[in-house]
């Protein structure tokens, strides 16, 4: 968890545990009670002060499902089903998936196109909702959440890395990395500082002011990774992260993921390439919307001749 979130936790002083008792609107009952009590004062000044505090906290306060939960099972899927309604016929995208990914794992999800891995990716990324079943992310059932709550989850708990980088054009690398923090309402100085640190970490400290079209593919993907790390999310989701890169850049990116994994981040990579999956510690294979195998993997050792992430790409 990031430093900022921890501060909020102390502020609220709620009774949060890992229990799944949060209502979808995300307002913890205990918090409301606390405010009521502070508003009962007979003194008008006191009451006004309470109101003022309420107003202040309302803009900043986060639901406790964001601030409180630290679950050992980061991802837990129970009987997850996704049905696509294409008018005349219903297509079963995912058939009763049960899957658990623990904090700190480095997982590859493999499968041919149409195997259901993209559907799973969208659900894991909280971009889509399952038709049936439960998806507990960090102990919270996100299956019943509304779009704005899902936005908040994506913002705080998930970092995305896409095949086509998906940087915002005509916007500098620095601003791209700042974007998730902007949506998290972080202050300008904090944003810039952290964005620079993250770019430094992915080896692009000197390229902060460059526009996406001035960067190579590998560099763009490293900006995307820096952006994914912006709010210090527990889960990094990469969807074919090397699909648009040459071999050298692909290896660089995967080594960066390995390093992040070693530093404690949970990384899930969706891919159809065996060489990419070889970097991970667990490989889950999909076919026709079902898991066909789920095996641990011994990650391949970094080769000495490959360029490290701290050196320039192409």
């Amino acid at each position: 968890m990031g430093l900022w979130n921890r501060e909020r936790t102390e502020d609220l002083g709620g009774s949060g545990s890992g229990e799944r008792k949060w209502k979808p609107d995300g307002r913890p009952e205990s918090g409301d009670k606390g405010q009521e009590e502070s508003g009962v004062g007979t003194d008008w000044a006191e009451r006004l002060q309470a109101l003022w505090k309420m107003g202040l906290s309302r803009s900043r306060k986060l639901p406790e499902y964001i601030t409180e939960n630290v679950s050992e099972e980061l991802i837990q899927l129970e009987d997850l089903v996704k049905v696509y309604d294409t008018g005349a016929l219903k297509v079963l995208g995912l058939k009763r998936i049960n899957l658990t990914i623990h904090r700190g794992e480095f997982v590859a999800i493999m499968g041919q196109s149409g195997s259901g891995k993209s559907t799973l990716m969208n659900i894991l990324g909280c971009l889509d909702r399952p038709s049936m079943g439960h998806y507990y992310l960090d102990g919270v059932d996100v299956a019943a959440m509304n779009p704005d709550e899902l936005s908040l989850i994506r913002n705080r708990k998930i970092g995305f890395v896409f095949q086509s980088f998906n940087l915002i054009s005509r916007t500098s690398a620095l601003k791209n990395v700042e974007l998730p923090m902007t949506y998290a309402r972080k202050g300008k100085r904090f944003r810039e500082q952290r964005a620079r640190t993250l770019l430094e970490r992915v080896g692009l400290g000197k390229r902060a002011e460059h526009m996406p079209n001035e960067l190579s593919g590998g560099q763009r993907q490293r900006v995307a990774i820096a952006r994914a790390l912006a709010n210090d999310p527990p889960l990094l989701l990469a969807d074919e992260p090397t699909g648009n890169l040459d071999t050298a850049a692909s290896v660089e990116i995967m080594e960066l993921f390995s390093q992040l994994h070693k530093e404690g981040t949970t990384v899930v990579v969706v891919t159809h390439e065996e060489e990419i999956a070889a970097f991970t510690e667990r490989i889950i294979r999909f076919r026709d919307g079902e898991i066909v195998s789920d095996k641990p993997n011994v990650p391949r050792e970094p080769e000495q001749k490959e360029a490290g992430p701290n050196e320039k790409g192409h």
Partner: protein
């Protein structure tokens, strides 16, 4: 966040310069034309007010109503009655005369000029100051003695005598059938703006002269109207009502049988007509603002479609529906407000330049400017709502997949 949104909006506007300019141009033209029409209206109103102040806003004419069917000789006025009005109201009257005038050919040597003669009292200068450049104004002796002395302006003197300083010169004219010699005792210079000259019918060929009203109105004459200047503008309405009531009573009539034409009322009427006209025409000009707003909506819709992928990315990074909505609304509001500001500069500038060219003090009220900026931003927000909500509602998966 607001600043962040505005930065994003400006960068989006800059990214498509031509398109943004054309979109703004609609608002520029709309706001520009509304501002110019309203300002032209305000300028005209102030010009008319200036004109009425020039002729004396405390001035009024009192006469029997044209709606009265059985007009009697006693409904007209005599000099005795005028004197009595003077006595009764005393200090409240700044000036009073019989509103007499005549026009005739003035002849000096071989030059004949058509002159308009105004009969005035010696203290007329107190209510209608003129800038005497040669000689003197008419004095009490001229008026009481019915002396055939006149005061004219420099243009009239130039037309009749060929020189400005015509003091002491004489001319011959026929007033009410009798031909006599008149002597010029004073010359003044008129200071009128071109608009005032036009409205007050100053002619450049003919002439005008003041002469004692006692020459035009004899003791036994009946005359149609009393011309009065009130002393005090603040209380003039009450004063004139009293005068009307007094006159009506003295003539055995009802006050509503008399008509009181005050310059202030006329000015008020003119003002409200002009104000109404400016509002109506300004409203029609505002139709172009509506069309400009539709243009904003159209371009914002195009922009939303083009930036579908960007919307998807933002959503995947945690942007809520509201964040996207506000982003696009900010963009359309800025587009419109910028157009509004430029439109104000354009419209206001046109009116100012036009005013300078015509030698008129153009008026662009700050209130109108403020209203225009506010209105244009509102247009931007109003016509931005649909595209912005369309953007905000996009499904993130589909948006990310969009090519």
């Amino acid at each position: 966040m607001l600043i962040e949104n505005m930065k994003m909006a400006f960068s989006a506007i800059r990214a498509n310069k031509m398109r943004s300019f054309l979109t703004m141009l609609g608002i520029i033209i709309g706001i520009g034309s509304v501002i110019s029409i309203v300002s032209i209206g305000d300028t005209m109103r102030s010009m008319f007010e200036g004109l009425y102040r020039e002729i004396g806003v405390t001035q009024a004419y009192l006469f029997i109503g044209y709606w009265v069917d059985d007009v009697r000789q006693s409904d007209y006025f005599t000099l005795d009655e005028m004197e009595r009005v003077k006595e009764v109201f005393g200090d409240q009257i700044a000036y009073i005369d019989s509103n007499s005038h005549a026009s005739a050919d003035a002849i000096s040597g071989r030059t004949t000029v058509k002159f308009a003669f105004n009969g005035v009292d010696y203290n007329y200068q107190e209510v209608q100051p003129v800038n005497i450049v040669y000689g003197r104004y008419l004095n009490e002796g001229d008026v009481l003695g019915r002396r055939k002395n006149v005061v004219m302006d420099t243009t009239s003197a130039m037309n009749l005598f060929g020189v400005e300083n015509a003091v002491g010169k004489t001319f011959r004219t026929t007033i009410y059938g009798t031909t006599e010699e008149y002597t010029v005792v004073g010359i003044y210079r008129k200071k009128l703006s071109p608009f005032q000259a036009m409205m007050m019918g100053a002619n450049t060929e003919g002439g005008e002269a003041f002469l004692p009203y006692t020459i035009l109105t004899w003791p036994n004459d009946y005359f149609y109207a009393l011309r009065i200047f009130a002393r005090d503008e603040a209380t003039m309405d009450v004063f004139y009502n009293n005068v009307k009531a007094y006159v009506a009573k003295s003539k055995g009539r009802q006050p509503e049988d008399f008509r009181l034409n005050s310059a202030k009322d006329e000015m008020g009427q003119m003002d409200s007509i002009m104000g109404g006209l400016a509002a109506a025409v300004g409203g029609i000009a505002a139709i172009s603002l509506l069309v400009g707003g539709i243009g904003i909506m159209n371009i914002m819709l195009v922009s939303v479609t083009e930036r579908t992928r960007e919307i998807g990315i933002r959503k995947s990074l945690g942007a809520r529906t509201r964040d996207i909505m506000i982003q696009f609304l900010t963009e359309s509001a800025i587009l419109s407000a910028c157009g509004g500001v430029v439109g104000i500069l354009l419209g206001g500038g046109l009116v100012m330049i036009g005013g300078a060219l015509l030698g008129v003090q153009a008026i662009v009220k700050p209130g109108v400017v403020l209203l225009a900026v506010g209105f244009s931003a509102m247009v931007g927000i109003f016509f931005g709502i649909y595209p912005a909500s369309k953007a905000a509602k996009k499904d993130p998966i589909e948006a990310l997949r969009y090519e």
